[in-house]
């Protein structure tokens, strides 16, 4: 998976959880979990959707890496074959 596809998958997954999220205003290193006021349920849904969409296994321990756009995209690039 190339980085552009990864970033798209991340953005689409976020949008599914927070439909009115303004992704254009979100910087690559912003902790979107906080910026978009996602609670723990929202964040779990995000991980679920992302895992489902890309087929990548996301462990509990991976969660801290996945709180920014660039962190999430990097994770996918590294783990999706």
């Amino acid at each position: 998976m190339n980085r552009a596809d990864a970033l798209n998958a991340v953005k689409e997954s976020i949008t599914q959880v927070v439909p009115d999220a303004d992704l254009a205003a979100l910087g690559p290193e912003d902790t979107f979990r906080d910026t978009l006021e996602m609670d723990s349920l929202d964040f779990l849904s995000y991980l679920e959707i992302l895992g489902e969409r890309t087929g990548v296994r996301i462990d509990d321990a991976d969660a801290p890496e996945l709180t920014t756009l660039s962190g999430s995209a990097d994770f996918l690039v590294a783990h999706v074959t």
């Binding site: 798209n8 439909p19 009115d20 254009a24 723990s40 779990l44 509990d60």
Partner: protein, 458 residues
């Protein structure tokens, strides 16, 4: 003929706006099916039907606000069973209806309101099918002419239509509610690209808006979709009137209920270890949040201390039948709703977790059902995600208590004479002093504490 009326979806509701019909006149309905979407001051709710039969005349147009109790539609209760039996060919009328050609042009004449679909080969001869079957075919998007009749004399039966509907690759006419159709047209979404979540996979307005927002996400820069939301207010904003509705309820609570407040700090080391262990092994969809254990403990403790689980009305306490936990859910634009986890004490943590996910998602997208916003016997508020350690809430009348969970934090903690760092949570109870005294409340909090020490037994 029964009347389907504007329901009361909470003690503080006196009128509601019909937003959308989910079924059309003549459609079969079953008791418990959501048939309409109603917007109240506080939220948008799917309202279930309390009769089985067929939807009759719809008396109120979408967009109309009417008082509670106003008839919205007529339900023909007699129609249901007949429709069920109609599957057998023996129920068909003796006189065969006028033969119909399979050509779409002719078929269209038979049903002016809906355009039947020509999915089959045009070379079929006249079709033998009763009006009920014809209607079913039309609803399923199946051309009766293209179906092989397995009944006597080649008559098309209900089973034939159902089989054809199931195997049809893609019906050209997608089942959709009128509002969904309008919204799709406004947003430029093709209905056939939308997965319907309504009955018989009918596309509903929210499916369209979901598809629209996914499309918007996929192609963000061009133009923002103007209104990708079925509700009459955007999701980022508070429903009009919600503030006033909360204001009325809370003012009443503070005026009528002499509150008392208790608080205790619970060691969550055992619960947290258990959760980590569970989550390490579980696939993502089965992972649990601390909230699942906290809610489970709150529900079981309510069963142990029934004095806090129920209602205060007419100067007396009525215990609740079962533990129905209201869960305060904050909405993105502000405001909150408290959907209900029915019989929460009978659900284990995994079941509670999935019920919670489902309820919260639908609360935030404005799609709760009528039965899901009423009947709470005890409410739980969990402000942990907002970062606060302690929440002393206001009891929701007519309930008599409210349980609050704060954030799970690491704190120095003495265990067995030694100081260690443990994850702890502050659990509070706000309760109605008319119904109980502090000793009862203390018993409740102790039970919560005790239950959380044995997470494997929860």
């Amino acid at each position: 003929m029964a009347e389907f009326t504007m329901p009361s979806l909470g003690a503080d509701m006196d009128e509601g706006t019909l937003v959308e019909w989910l079924v059309g006149p003549g459609d079969p309905v079953r008791r418990g099916d959501p048939v309409a979407v109603v917007e109240t001051a506080k939220s948008t709710i799917e309202v279930e039907c309390f009769e089985s039969g067929a939807m009759g005349r719809q008396l109120v147009e979408p967009g109309t606000t009417v008082p509670v109790g106003t008839p919205l539609a007529l339900i023909d209760s007699a129609a249901g069973p007949r429709e069920e039996e109609a599957g057998g060919p023996r129920e068909e009328p003796r006189v065969p209806p006028a033969p119909e050609r399979a050509a779409p042009a002719t078929a269209a004449g038979a049903a002016p309101a809906r355009t039947p679909v020509a999915s089959g080969a045009p070379e079929h001869g006249p079709v033998e099918a009763g009006p009920l079957i014809r209607r079913l075919a039309e609803q399923s998007g199946v051309d009766p002419g293209s179906v092989h009749g397995s009944g006597p004399a080649g008559r098309v039966t209900r089973a034939d239509i159902e089989r054809a509907a199931a195997t049809a690759s893609r019906p050209a006419r997608v089942r959709a509610t009128p509002r969904a159709r309008r919204l799709a047209a406004e947003l430029g979404i093709g209905l056939s690209e939308v997965t319907g979540t309504g009955r018989d996979a009918a596309v509903r307005a929210r499916d369209v808006s979901g598809a629209a927002s996914r499309q918007a996400a996929a192609h963000p820069p061009q133009r923002r979709t103007p209104a990708a939301v079925p509700a009459s207010h955007p999701p980022g904003e508070q429903a009009p009137g919600m503030r006033q509705a909360i204001a009325r309820l809370m003012a009443r609570a503070n005026r009528d209920i002499p509150h008392y407040y208790l608080s205790t700090t619970v060691d969550l080391a055992a619960a947290t270890d258990w959760l980590h262990d569970h989550n390490r092994r579980a696939p993502l969809p089965e992972r649990l949040l601390p909230a699942a254990l906290l809610l489970r403990a709150a529900a079981v403790a309510a069963r142990e201390v029934p004095e806090l689980n129920g209602f205060w009305a007419d100067d007396g306490f009525t215990p609740g039948e079962g533990v129905h936990l209201g869960v305060a859910v904050s909405l993105r634009g502000g405001g909150l709703v408290a959907p209900v986890l029915h019989r929460a004490d009978t659900l284990g943590p995994p079941a509670l977790m999935s019920a919670l996910k489902d309820l919260v998602t639908r609360a935030r997208t404005g799609r709760l059902r009528g039965s899901e916003v009423s009947g709470a016997t005890l409410t739980v508020t969990n402000l942990g995600d907002q970062g606060v350690e302690t929440v002393f809430g206001v009891v929701h009348p007519p309930q008599v208590a409210l349980v609050g969970f704060g954030r799970v934090v690491d704190r120095p903690w003495a265990v067995g004479g030694l100081l260690g760092v443990r994850p702890v949570v502050t659990v509070t109870l706000s309760a109605d002093h008319r119904a109980t005294d502090g000793a009862v409340g203390a018993r409740y909090l102790s039970a919560v504490d005790r239950l959380l020490q044995k997470p494997e037994k929860l």
